[in-house]
């Protein structure tokens, strides 16, 4: 077997205790202005002791977090082919733009005349996202993808209410995102699962049989979580519309289809975008993201308020939408994240955004082709931006998807998404994104092949992995049985 070079070698890892295991009373990590006004005394019944925090010096804090950061793997560390999450490179200029002092110091409660720059960003971004999706109404308020879904479902409910009906169910395909049922349930919709067919996509007949006038509509992730394009979407949308329902498009996988599909032409009425996926804003170890919602002209009146509008040459926030579902965020959403996406779109332009989708799909198709002899494909159909394998063959060697994932860590890769989508047993879902170059993709493919070989020859290597990360496999059962959630 040829020696495969991998980026993962062991390095020096420094240990670091919890914050309250260090420090000395009397230390200080931050400067506090001197008091230049008379001391005042709050009435004693309202006064507390203050929180039990350790006192730390500035160096204590800086070293603590620097060491913690070294235990993390990010996109800037290496390839992060986490399916469904679009872990593309997060451009540094976006950070600089979001840190513009006039933006970071902007107060959200001032009159519009004081905030023309930030309002222009909102106004333009609303238009850019409308142009990209083909859906003209846009709200930037939702703070994350799931928050966008909730906003979408609230719009569904408001729409049906305006038609004098209250529907009770919603169709959700088995290849949709995991958050969909919970988002719909908050609006009182009982999810009705729709099975995908033997090709991994939705069947027109199946939807026709389930769709009725009790159904508020359908939530479709397209491309779906198998990385397949729902080719019947237009006809499915027609069926749903004919029964008075609406079509929700989960745009989490938009990275595959920018400039390729027009959501409105697909029959989608409401769609959220994940700015932290498609539009390159960093994931921050779990957030903050942004999940703007785009809707058809007809549904615009239901969007959360306010919206940014333009009067002549000035911008203002418009509140006057009597049918609006109301606010979903305290202010204007995760504005700092919006600025990053705005910078990205301006940096890219139309041609490059389309190229992003083309190259994201090309990279996934390339991996699929190179690995289909090594791991069994869940569906051998043209894939979009991600490809899904199963662990069927690995089982024969007594190793699981989890073992393969952990062995990838020792080789210097973040594992792909595993055990999702649920319709594929032992799923391994790989999304390379457009920002990985061919050499790195080739190296990754080589490492996967090497690990599959190891599974046959020395499965213990996989069972024991990872061995060179900060910690080895952790006892999740212990964590759940006797939860220790704070120190």
């Amino acid at each position: 077997m040829t020696k495969i070079k991998t980026p993962g070698i062991s390095g020096l890892i420094l240990d670091e205790p919890l914050l309250w295991e260090k420090g000395k009373k009397g230390r200080r990590g931050m400067s506090i202005p001197v008091n230049d006004v008379p001391e005042a005394v709050l009435e004693e019944t309202l006064q507390g002791q203050g929180p039990d925090f350790p006192d730390l010096s500035e160096v204590d804090v800086v070293r603590h977090y620097t060491r913690l950061s070294q235990w993390n793997f990010g996109v800037d560390t290496g390839m992060y082919p986490l399916g469904s999450c679009t872990m593309k490179y997060n451009p540094k200029i976006n950070e600089t733009m979001a840190a513009t002092p006039e933006i970071t110091s902007a107060h959200p409660m001032l009159d519009d005349e004081y905030s023309q720059g930030t309002l222009k960003i909102m106004y333009d971004l609303q238009h850019y996202l409308a142009a990209i999706t083909g859906l003209p109404g846009v709200s930037l308020q939702p703070a994350a993808g799931a928050h966008g879904e909730l906003t979408g479902m609230l719009i569904f409910a408001a729409y049906h209410k305006s038609h004098g009906s209250k529907r009770t169910k919603i169709l959700i395909p088995d290849t949709a995102h995991g958050t969909n049922p919970a988002s719909a349930a908050l609006c009182g919709y009982k999810p009705v699962p729709v099975k995908s067919d033997s090709n991994g996509i939705l069947n027109i007949q199946t939807v026709a049989e389930l769709m009725d006038e009790e159904c508020a509509g359908i939530m479709i992730t397209n491309p779906n979580t198998l990385g397949l394009f729902e080719t019947n979407i237009r006809k499915i949308a027609d069926i749903v519309h004919s029964k008075g329902g609406l079509v929700y498009g989960d745009g989490a996988n938009m990275n595959a289809v920018m400039g390729i599909i027009d959501a409105e032409k697909c029959g989608v009425d409401v769609m959220h975008l994940n700015l932290h996926k498609t539009f390159s804003t960093p994931h921050g170890g779990g957030g903050p993201g942004a999940g703007p919602v785009c809707v058809t002209e007809e549904l615009t009146k239901f969007l959360p308020t306010p919206l940014a509008v333009k009067d002549g040459s000035s911008y203002r926030l418009k509140y006057d939408y009597p049918d609006s579902i109301g606010r979903v965020h305290g202010f204007h959403g995760n504005f700092g994240v919006l600025v990053r996406a705005y910078s990205y779109i301006l940096s890219m332009g139309a041609d490059n955004l389309k190229k992003v989708s083309q190259l994201a799909v090309l990279s996934a198709a390339y991996i699929k082709e190179q690995l289909k002899g090594t791991l069994p494909l869940a569906f051998n159909r043209p894939c979009m931006h991600e490809c899904v394998f199963s662990d069927k063959l690995l089982h024969d060697d007594g190793v699981s998807t989890l073992d393969l994932a952990k062995r990838l860590i020792d080789n210097g890769y973040h594992p792909p998404t595993i055990y999702f989508p649920l319709v594929v047993p032992g799923a391994i879902m790989i999304e390379p994104t457009e920002t990985e170059c061919k050499e790195d993709i080739d190296q990754f493919i080589g490492v996967i092949k090497k690990i599959v070989q190891e599974a046959k020859e020395n499965p213990e290597l996989l069972h024991q992995a990872p061995t060179i990360a900060k910690v080895r496999r952790l006892d999740e059962t212990k964590a759940a049985r006797n939860p220790c959630l704070r120190g």
């Binding site: 999740e476 059962t477 759940a480 049985r481």
Partner: protein, 131 residues
């Protein structure tokens, strides 16, 4: 996971197709989950139980079992009032993995004893497990 032949399925119990067992004695009934259920769940980390005095109709959800990454609902096989819950499971959910039969979950007073006759015998349950 265990093969069918490895499963412990006591003869003297009645079962349900939701993989629960029941044992009746002196007008009350203890309810737990079968060896098959605990084996499928893996390490059980939490048992959500009803309160004594709660009333359920046959088929109602009366609690849940949780593993690290799954939740399994528990349905009452026979309607009635809860007269005891196995408090040992609050701090020791793993007891169900150790012995699913010694570690019952709730004890009820059936409201309609004739429902007991509809429960599965061990043979019928074994047939279901065969698929």
């Amino acid at each position: 996971m265990k093969e069918l032949s490895e499963l412990n399925l006591p003869e003297n119990l009645r079962y349900t197709d939701d993989h629960e067992w029941t044992s009746s004695e002196g007008g009350t009934m203890k309810i737990g989950v079968s060896d098959y259920a605990q084996d499928q769940m893996g390490d059980i980390v939490f048992v959500e139980m009803p309160e004594v005095g709660d009333n359920f109709d046959k088929g109602d959800e009366f609690g849940t079992l949780e593993s690290v990454k799954a939740v399994s609902e528990l349905f009452i096989p026979v309607g009635g009032e809860v007269i005891a819950v196995n408090e040992a499971l609050e701090d020791g959910p793993e007891l169900i993995n150790k012995d699913p039969y010694a570690n019952w979950i709730v004890e009820i007073k059936p409201s309609d004893p004739s429902e007991i006759d509809q429960l599965l015998t061990v043979e019928a349950y074994r047939e279901i497990l065969k698929g």
